[in-house]
Structure formats: structure tokens, C-alpha cells
Amino acid sequence: MTPADAVGKRPWPVGPRAIVLLSLLAAGAWGVVYLELDLSGLVPGAGGIATAKRFFARALSPAWVSEARFVPADAPPLLIGALEGAWQTIRFAAAAVALSLVIGIALGIPASTALWAADPAGARTAAGRLARRSLFPAVYVSTRGLIGFLRSIHELLWAVLFLVAFGLNDSTAVVAIALPYGGVLAKIFSEMLDEVPRGSANALREIGARPLQVMLFGLIPRVAADFTGYTFYRMECALRASAVLGFFGFPTLGLFIRQSFSATNYGEVWTYLYTLAVLVIAFDAWSAAVRRRLAS
């Protein structure tokens, strides 16, 4: 029933979209009341104002050399250290996205109904039909549950769990980011497989291709461009996530930010913040260019 049909017989004076909007605003208002927020909380106290002043005073003059009072003789210069932190951030993020791509594609295929439900790759034997009615739905439901579980735990919480279990390790950071991101990629991949037009896949089935061939050559090329674009977006998120993981001790930019901030070397903090900003913005520009080229 389109909105045009409903005009003559609408029971409520406002449409469903307005109800959604109003309930959202009402929920926000409930949040304000529940947390007892008032605007005086936005005004920093005396100590806070002093810190903020000292911090923002350095915003336009980030440090070019290390500001620490004691610098070891063989320590690298500050800018080299910042670049090293940026490189570690990229390294962790790239490895995490690569692993999450593997997880995403591996989980996304059983989590989509493209292979068996709408029959772009039909079942020709009795065993095949039995599998389609019992085994595949079971696999589908359990994979969706697994994906939902992986997605629901934030990468930082996965990192905390792995830190408690295995200690500080390069691969714990990579796996901590890769698990939820793999879940997200799997969900997006399965949704793309489900929603893509089936024309070419049906044509392949007509000429007698096997189910795997139908999927590889009929469905996946259609989703490849969109999925690559989304993977680039995930990589940008992974860059930010791996920088934040540094706050927990991993050797990325977050570690340097936390250390310099605790030592009140605010100039160094701004150097690292600008490095992180340049990193994210540069990657965002690259990913936008790639997506434009893919869409054309």
C-alpha cells in the first residue's frame, strides 16, 4: 500500500516515518533524563580548563623533536617514530582486513540463500534435494548465528579477551580486529549475493553449469565491484581501530598518543594526532578514487 493509497483512509494524523522520527527524539530525551545530563557538565572544572588550555595551545605548533626530558641516546627522532607508528598501524590494519576477507567470504557463502533456495544452481539428484531441504537451512541458520555473534562484540572487547588469554602479541591484535570485521563482511557479502539480479546465473544454469560454476561466474562477478568498495571502507575503519588498539599496549599510534599525553608532552600528542588524521584522510581519498573508478 503506497502512501498515495493511504491518503484517503489514514487512521493516524502522522505517517509511520514521522512516528519513527518522534520515537527517536523521545528516546534521546529519555537518555538525557536517565543520565541526569545538564549543560553545566559541559563546562570543565578549573583543572580541566588548565589542561585544555595547555593542550589546545599546542594545536598549531606540533612538536618536531621529542619533548621528553630524558631521551635515550639511540632513540629515533620524533618524526621517524611517528612514521614508524603509522606504518605499524597500517600493517596491523592490512593484515586484519586480509584475514577478515577470508573469514567474510568463507562465512558469507553459506550464510546466503543464493546457492540453494531460489535455485539458481538446481539440485538434480534426490540426495541433493534432501540436502537442500534439511542440511542447507541448518547450515544457513547456524552460520547466520555465528556471524551475528562475531559482529556483536566490539574489536576492542575481543582484544581485551585475547589480551587476558594470550597476552600482548602481534597476532592477537590482528585476530581481534579480524573477527568482528569478518562477521560484518560476511553479512554484507551474503546480502549482496542474495540481492544481486540473477539473470546471468540463471542463464548459466540453463546451459548446464555445475552449482559452483554458476556461483563463481554468475553471481560473484556482479557483486565484486560493490564488495571491493565496501572492503575499502572496512579498511579505513580498521586503520582507526588499529590506532585505538595502541591504547592497550600494541605498538601502533595509540600507544604513542597515550604515552605522550600521560607525560603531558602535548606537542608530541598533536604530532601523532596529525599523523593519524593524514593517514585516515589519505586512505579515504584513495578509497573514494577506487570506488569512483569501479562505479564507472
Binding site: 529519555w30 576477507l101 566490539h154 588469554a165 593519524l276
Partner: protein, 276 residues
């Protein structure tokens, strides 16, 4: 793109993947510590585990969950309002002297410069807000404001203003232009065009983005508590610092439940918006 895959492959291979005995010993130790405290070194009893869980939940879990949801809701509402407002000056089609008219823009260079500088400034602000992770914002705000919920709300709001503003600006730029041109031909002013031509196209898509970002806000609100703000993350960090691995796992699973509830609510809201 091939370069990207190559980088990723190099990155993946570079790590020290060890599946040593120490790793498996750590895993068994973790699995043992994960059991609820009354049940460690004792045969498993589901009733005791259930009672332990409900005690934890009613004691601190319910409040922490409500605080997490409240933080996320306030943050996304603020971010939505400000992001919606900023998506107009951040859109190239709006930020020009004769918006959406077929006339050539050669006239009035001064007005054009003013609009362009507004556009560039807004875009720069949005990018700056967007490129800092929420955790970094919260870490910086914590020093100024102390451990209040406003720190988490502002951190989430700043980052999401950047995201929602950018998504809204892209929606404005990709809007169907013929409606605007015909309204302009009727003599409508800039803001009349926005109210009658743009708003019906912009609002549904913006609401979809808004709810999608709310799901992320719920996850981030859980985590931001680890800095000391009163939300679920606070208890996660507390359990980690005390070495109570069983409570740690319980809080993480509770966070997972909260996220799933938020995702379900968001999916319902988004399907209502899409169908309308």
C-alpha cells in the same frame, strides 16, 4: 586494487603466527578461569551459574546496560540533528549563489567565493571530526571534563557528526535535480526548495544512515566505558583489572546482548522507514 591485495598479503604473512604449546596452555587456563567463581574446581551446576548471572545482572548489569543505551541514544540524536544541518552547506549543489538553477554561475564572483569558502570549511570540519576515532576523542575529552557521561556522548557525537554530515551531503548532491529546477522556475527561494523539494528525498535516506550509525554507537558506548565512564565498559575494565575473568566474559556477553537488541530495534525502524 591489485596493489592493495598485494599489501594485504604481505601484511598478513609478516606476522609471527605461532601455534605453540604455550599458546594452548594459555587457552586452557583461560577456559578454566572463565567459569563462574562459585563453580571453579567444582562440578558444573547450571542453577548456581544462573543464580550467579542474575545476581551480577540485577546488581550492576541492568544499570550499566541502560547507561550504555542512554549514552548511545543521546549521542546519535545530537549527531543526527547537527549532521543534518551541516549536510546542506557541505553539499556542492547547495553551496553556490544560484542553487539548483539552470543559469550559468558566471555572475557574482564575490558571492561564489563566499559560498565556496563555506563549503570548504564545512567539509574540512567534517573530515577532521570523522578521522579521529571515538576512543581518541573520549580520551582527550576525559582530561578536560572528568569521568562524566558527557565525555562519551560528546566523543560519539563528534565522530558521528562527521560521518552523518558527509553521508547527508552526498545524498543532497545525488538528489534528483529536475524537481529543484522546476521549483526554481516557479520562483521558489533557496530554503523553500529545501523544504519542499529536498526534504522528502533527504529525510528517509538520512534516517537509514542515522539508524545504521546508531548500531555502531551502541557498540562504541559499550567500549568507551573502559576509560572510566559509567557504562558497561567500566565494569569490563574493572573485571579485567581485578583478574575476575569470569565476570569479564559475562560483561562482554551482556554487551553482545545489548548490541543485538539495538541491532534488532534498528532493523525494525529501518524497515518501517523503507516501506513508508
Amino acid at each position: 586494487m591489485f596493489a592493495a591485495i598485494l599489501c594485504a598479503a604481505i601484511g598478513l604473512g609478516d606476522f609471527g603466527w605461532d601455534f605453540s604449546q604455550q599458546r594452548s596452555r594459555n587457552l586452557t587456563r583461560f577456559a578454566e578461569e572463565m567459569r563462574p567463581f562459585p563453580l571453579q574446581h567444582v562440578p558444573w551446576d547450571t542453577r548456581v551459574a544462573w543464580q550467579w548471572s542474575t545476581e551480577l545482572f540485577s546488581d550492576r548489569g541492568a544499570t550499566a546496560a541502560a547507561q550504555t543505551l542512554a549514552i548511545s541514544l543521546v549521542a546519535i540524536s545530537i549527531a543526527g540533528l547537527i549532521g543534518l544541518a551541516l549536510s546542506l552547506p557541505a553539499a556542492r549543489t547547495f553551496a553556490r549563489p544560484d542553487a539548483w538553477s539552470r543559469a550559468s554561475p558566471d555572475s557574482r564572483p564575490l558571492a561564489r567565493m563566499a559560498w565556496t569558502s563555506l563549503y570548504v570549511t564545512t567539509r574540512a570540519v567534517l573530515i577532521a571530526l570523522r578521522s579521529m576515532p571515538e576512543y581518541v576523542w573520549a580520551f582527550l575529552l576525559l582530561a578536560a571534563l572528568g569521568p562524566t557521561p558527557w565525555v562519551a556522548v560528546c566523543a560519539l557525537a563528534f565522530h558521528n557528526v562527521g560521518t552523518l554530515g558527509r553521508l547527508g551531503a552526498e545524498t543532497v548532491e545525488n538528489a534528483e535535480p529536475r524537481v529543484f529546477e522546476s521549483l526554481r522556475g516557479l520562483g521558489a527561494g533557496r530554503f523553500q526548495i529545501v523544504a519542499f523539494g529536498l526534504w522528502p528525498q533527504l529525510l528517509p535516506r538520512f534516517l537509514l544512515f542515522h539508524f545504521y550509525r546508531w548500531e555502531t554507537c551502541v557498540r562504541e558506548a559499550t567500549v568507551l566505558g573502559m576509560l572510566g565512564i559509567a557504562s558497561l565498559g567500566f565494569w569490563i575494565d574493572d573485571a579485567r583489572a581485578r583478574g575476575h575473568t569470569d565476570e569479564l566474559v559475562f560483561w562482554v556477553l551482556l554487551g553482545s546482548v545489548i548490541v543485538l537488541v539495538g541491532d534488532a530495534a534498528s532493523a525494525v525502524a529501518r524497515s518501517v522507514v523503507r516501506r513508508a
